[in-house]
Homo-oligomer: 566 residues x 2
């Protein structure tokens, strides 16, 4: 159901100005973050992120929010505001900008990543990209948006202070409170406090780590882990990490310089992101330290640090190819030290541990999250979340950026610091919240959900297609081919059996002969008129084959009778 927000509900619960907040993604999942704010005739979009597919989303490359609501209200969309440059906040932008020509606001590095992304998508958009700095305030329709510096696992992240006719909204974006960030740019807690002092109507805050007690460690803590490893390593060092984590890359470079090693960057996104960060002044590499991969052959082992992508065990990534000995320019060998400086994202554990095993087999020493201190999270833990809640002291609280349980944990924290239960709302994608000075209420839903992107086909992968893929994946397909004379129902060719993903045909001749005979028998007993009706023949053949195969083998392949009338 689409709620037409242009014609206010006659039963409106408020006489004053109204603010609507609609998450289109990011509540109920980690990923595809996107939130809509609407007041008067203006719509503001905060972030447009993607999500990586669940394993059962077969063949799907990425998942983006269903933006139908924005397309249906395109005339009212004034701008997209980005909090930071992670894929789960900017990854759906090319899809959105294909449809909407609106300005995009973001900090310098965020827009640097965006430009690279638009280039990659070959998107020729005239949408304006507007660079902002922390403490900038821009007016977008009825919204006044202030950008507030936060610390996170990517440089140049911001939260948002949004003043609307109905009241103030504060959105943290993704954050942790890092007291010692690598670039010394601490989180702007003062401005968050100001919003608390002025009075904040609604607070949206990052729930990713709401189940983690205590404080998240500073990014700088990782440096000690690297120093230990670099100190002991006698041969080459390979570090795999997220390409967007510029501070992590900076620290690895700094430690490399300290230990007189040269740095080689490997992997497409690692090189691209580093170049962007370097160009924009967010990364410093002494020119004599950064070498191309060709330089490897002239470099003594003890001077090599290779920083690479692939920390999640992605099938085609540089690290995976190294582990499988399929990387053209770099082979892992005894004496090498490999560091996976990253969290194993749930769902990726088997892929990552398989790579670790391969690295061990090639003789490398391997350090990773479970056995070493080479990674810290970028998201705030319980104490930090409570601190922010206490600084902002909102009237209403919307936990965002988390799966359902994370939102529940975050709600529990909010109740602990004194926000009444009835002022906390756990939403699902597409749920409409209305806020005014007089109160808040759930006000229906708009179309929302997940769009599964496979290749560059227009639109997403439909449910029926996915269901078929699952069936095909499970037991394969059996195709029965027959040509029938239209008038007599006589079989003039076939039946031929073609199968894929069912049995190894060379070794199953006997079974396939039985299947053929079964098809003939099935048709034989049909009355002549029925034999001429291909849809009836098809249904009978499918049904008897299904029974036979299930009984014989306990398998349920997809059965496709192909009947030609000639």
């Amino acid at each position: 159901m689409t709620i037409d927000t242009s014609s206010p509900d006659p039963q409106s619960f408020s006489s004053g100005p109204l603010l609507r907040i609609i998450p289109l993604g990011g509540v109920g999942e980690i990923g595809m973050n996107s939130t809509v704010l609407a007041c008067d005739d203006d719509i503001l979009v905060v972030d447009a992120g993607l999500m990586f597919p669940d394993p059962e989303m077969l063949g799907v490359d990425i998942v983006i929010p269903d933006f139908t609501y924005l397309y249906e209200n395109r005339a009212r969309v004034r701008a997209i505001v980005l909090t930071h440059g992670h894929e789960d906040h900017i990854g759906a932008l090319p899809f959105l900008l294909k449809e909407l020509n609106v300005p995009v606001y973001g900090t310098k590095l965020t827009l640097g990543f965006v430009k690279d992304k638009l280039r990659e998508h070959e998107l020729d958009t005239s949408a304006e990209l507007i660079t902002v700095r922390p403490r900038d305030i821009v007016t977008i329709g009825c919204f006044q948006v202030e950008f507030i510096r936060v610390t996170h696992s990517i440089v140049d992240g911001v939260g948002l202070g949004i003043t609307t006719p109905a009241g103030r909204v504060v959105h943290t974006g993704d954050f942790k409170i890092d007291p010692t960030p690598v670039d010394n740019q601490v989180m702007d807690l003062r401005t968050f406090t100001e919003y608390g002092d002025k009075g904040t109507l609604v607070f949206l805050s990052d729930s990713t780590n709401a189940s983690q007690g205590g404080y998240t460690f500073s990014e700088k803590e990782v440096r000690r882990g690297f120093e230990d490893i670099f100190h002991k390593a006698k041969g080459r060092i390979v570090v795999a990490t997220f390409a967007s984590n510029i501070h992590r890359v900076q620290q690895i470079i700094d430690v490399a310089v300290m230990y007189n090693r040269k740095v080689i960057l490997n992997g497409k996104s690692m090189i691209a992101n580093a170049q962007i960060a370097l160009d924009l002044g967010y990364l410093r590499i002494p020119p004599e330290t950064w070498l191309k991969i060709d330089a490897l052959k002239n470099l003594p082992d003890e001077q090599v640090v290779l920083i690479t992508t692939g920390s999640q065990g992605e099938p085609m990534s540089a690290l995976t190819r190294m582990a499988a000995n399929e990387h053209k320019q770099f082979q892992i060998r005894k004496g090498d030290t490999v560091v996976l400086s990253s969290k194993m994202i749930p769902g990726n554990e088997r892929a990552v541990t398989r790579i670790i095993d391969h690295l061990f087999k090639r003789g490398a020493e391997v350090f990773y999250e479970k056995v070493s201190e080479v990674h810290v999270s970028g998201h705030a833990s319980k104490e930090e979340l409570k601190l922010l809640l206490n600084l902002v002291r909102p009237k209403f609280f919307l936990p965002v950026h988390g799966e359902y349980r994370h939102l529940v944990y975050h709600s529990q924290l909010a109740r602990k610091v004194g926000i009444p239960e009835e002022n906390i709302f756990i939403l699902e994608d597409g749920e409409v919240m209305e806020f005014s000075e007089e109160g808040a209420r759930r006000a229906g839903v708009v179309q929302a959900g997940r769009v599964l992107i496979d290749g560059k086909a227009p639109g997403g992968v439909e449910t029926v297609v996915l269901r078929d893929r699952m069936k095909l994946a499970h037991d394969g397909v059996v195709i029965v081919i027959l040509a029938i004379e239209k008038l007599t129902g006589r079989i003039v060719s076939g039946p031929d059996i073609v199968s894929r993903g069912f049995v190894f045909e060379d070794a199953s001749q006997e079974l396939l002969a039985e299947v053929k005979q079964l098809v003939l028998d099935t048709i034989l007993v049909m009355i002549p008129e029925a034999k001429g009706d291909w849809s009836l023949v098809s249904a009978r053949v499918r049904s008897s084959l299904k029974k036979f195969i299930n009984k014989r083998m306990e398998r349920r392949p997809m059965i496709l009778p192909v009947i030609m009338e000639v």
Copy 2:
């Protein structure tokens, strides 16, 4: 290559008696544990376990070791000895007993589970099941096998002390050193020590937790976690755990009794295993405590404990159905407390966390490993592993029961306690080790590997079938159907296009029309003689469609031209 161990290698490195050890499974993977010992003309098999499939093993139900070596040497196989009743140690037994009629030795509960399994497989075997007790010694060919009590996450587990003409072998089975086991039957460290004193040639030990520092907690530690939860819970309590963990079930029952609650067992394997353990005296439930699920309706919420399967988020399990509100007799509702008393096995995290989210949505309070103390491991950590190595003091060490990195970590522990590097061997499935009083050497490989079981088809799923399933899963299948007149090459019917898992056909009429035209165009430009050759037509059609679809959509469906000559 199969090594014929019946004709000794003329280059034998030893004049004295020879012992061969061949792991057929369990080194390089957690699961499908099975080890072969051979001396003189006798073969002894230790365990015959299954493994659950990796996600990319599409449609595969279970994975078992390739037992070809045993089948080829069937006349020499004297017995199968089981260490305990977990699936990864007994799950492949029905398959092995279909081929081999040999006695199976195990403790009472282990054989209780085995009998249930054979019944389930409807296996009519005359193989003798021989019950042993800890400290029993049985003679099997040239082997004297002593059963040594260990503590583990299943009751009635044993390690093995095997005396052979070549020397003594000690095999831990799966173990941890639990100082306070629930049944007060502590691990028989004294007998392990005796083997150390008498002198042990080869030691095989459980590597599962070789990367975990310190000691593994006692099973009894979990009780405190349960007491806390039961103390606070006001409504019904649901506990999901492994059906085979009888001591866990016992503790839940004990705490239930303490808090005046009744117990309902739910899930097929939970009820079956509890019944077996009850019948054999390994589980005690006061008769008035154990109720059938029908009793629920007359029971006040604060008296209910439901113990259920499904802690791994298995799709059809009781807990999954409860979370999805599809369980006929039990619906989760506000006020319920749900405890997942289990480890999330890597690969299952997404399924498990999805269930946790659903439980939260239904209003339950949920406790699980990450946020509560409701599970301990059944495998020894570093300090326990070193202790066992020091007690047994073997000449040679084979770490077993682990993925490659676990075996490496275990080797590092062995070196720390003084076993020389050259006396430690990390093996892969099928590798043959030879031991004698004079030394040890790697002596080739026998056929080994993984057999993928799908349904009840004979043999496993072949690689080509699995590869096709992956392709089908990724982008579906496009079938092009044509009837061609044999002599003229004229198209008499078609082309028709049938696709599954590719695009939603109703919404893709335009695309499919283009595909049809492309097929016609492709054939049109072929010379008349070529048109009559269906294999050539098929190849051309496949190639041009592949190019078109890839260019247009960046998808690579399987393309199957079906060409009938009439």
